[in-house]
Symmetry: C2
Subunit: 257 residues, 2 copies
Amino acid sequence: MTQASQAATSRQQTAQSPEQNHLLGELSPEVKERIYPFLELVPLPLGHVICESGDTMRYVYFPIDSIVSLLYVMENGESAEISVVGKEGIVGVSLFMGGESTPSRTVVQSAGYAYRLAGQRMKAEFNRHGELLFLMLRYTQSLITQMAQTAVCNRHHNIDQQLCRWLLLSLDRLEGPHLVMTQELIANMLGVRREGVTEAAGKLQKLGVITYRRGKIEVMDRPRLEQLSCECYEVVKKETDRLMTYRPKVLHPRAPA
Amino acid sequence: MTQASQAATSRQQTAQSPEQNHLLGELSPEVKERIYPFLELVPLPLGHVICESGDTMRYVYFPIDSIVSLLYVMENGESAEISVVGKEGIVGVSLFMGGESTPSRTVVQSAGYAYRLAGQRMKAEFNRHGELLFLMLRYTQSLITQMAQTAVCNRHHNIDQQLCRWLLLSLDRLEGPHLVMTQELIANMLGVRREGVTEAAGKLQKLGVITYRRGKIEVMDRPRLEQLSCECYEVVKKETDRLMTYRPKVLHPRAPA
DNA sequence: GGCTCTATGTGCGTTATCGCACAGACAGCG
DNA sequence: CGCTGTCTGTGCGATAACGCACATAGAGCC
């Protein structure tokens, strides 16, 4: 039994609904009526590459309980996570931003499910210039914030702090305090050596903040984790909250011409 | 006489036109007719802070011959450049993306001029859901690419390579091979020590790639600079070219409902 | 010309991370 | 149960960047 189908079985018990994705859930009844019939629930197994660098996106994905990473892979194989998307967001913004593709790889960081929507359906609704458009743009801005902060964090903070930030970002997108993730994979995300992650994780374990063994991490003391993290986590969290709380559906107070 | 007014005097001789900004220049005659009357030419002196972190944007800026940096400043004062905008772009995407502000500082990196447009005017045109909207979104995606690549570059490339990348990005936004920029300021942008920039710049000078003295840099051998740069410059350049070459004005082939 | 400020050059010890090598240790499987 | 592959722990020299201190040098100004 694969890890993916395991996840499938265990999750199947709890009902899946598009509402679990925050973006889908926030839409008005009319938009839901138009979109929901075309949503397909798909399992996302750990490590699955949804979209390779430069590929044209054919679907957008709304994660429910899965986590998806945007990863840049360099010519020499080294990599770095650019941003992370869970139930608060959507995978494939390039599809409606107009580029259709990006130079980064989209890969499943935590197994689970997502609803996907064909690109054409997405664009059709987007082009109605209604609430979906503005919701997507606000989300895209929060994604931009996350990328900017990642750049800063890569420059100025040490592995210990970055690991805390990364754990917190993942935790926010999961139900419980458990994550399935080897240190090797975390190292790929952070763009550092595996041994560096071993050392940082070891410190956190000594402090009683987390426990881990063979790819299973449990966060024991979240508040402490936040203290140990650099400011980057909080900046992203606050800005995302600010951007994604409800707002008027149009930018300009007067109706468009 | 300040550096700003010096720039003003010298530039005043060459005629200024909104067309010099690539985004404005690419608009259709109808949109230009609506927008151009409201554009104001403003000088941007070196170091001027257009917008502090968290400030609500009141204008968007279309640089003509100036360069503007999006800079993140941390709690402890350290900083890092997130992205750079010149005549190919617009400053203030958060205004139409819906957030109205960002957690980063907007500062003039190279003195010159820009056309600015009141936020309300910008939003009004944006909300007509015409070509401006799609042009802005495509540009925003190119900005996203730049930020992502900055994150990767900060993680994996050394100061020498990053300096080359930074020089190239600046060069692409200027007319000649000269840039006015102290090593101290470059260090702030790259988020490294000033001495590190001194060393990297010294190497480039020894190689005959650049010459510099007291805040004036001249690039002598651009091809060599590209060779010495990391892949990040080319990735950003190519992706931006791809995104900003002409495309249909709507995403969906059929007209929106 | 001489003063002063700013920009740049340099040396040196410290630190974080890397690259590599290899040693345990646990899980799954036959 | 024992094998095997994966995951984690650890040590050590190499390297890149840092922090600091201070020297040098050009530019502007009186």
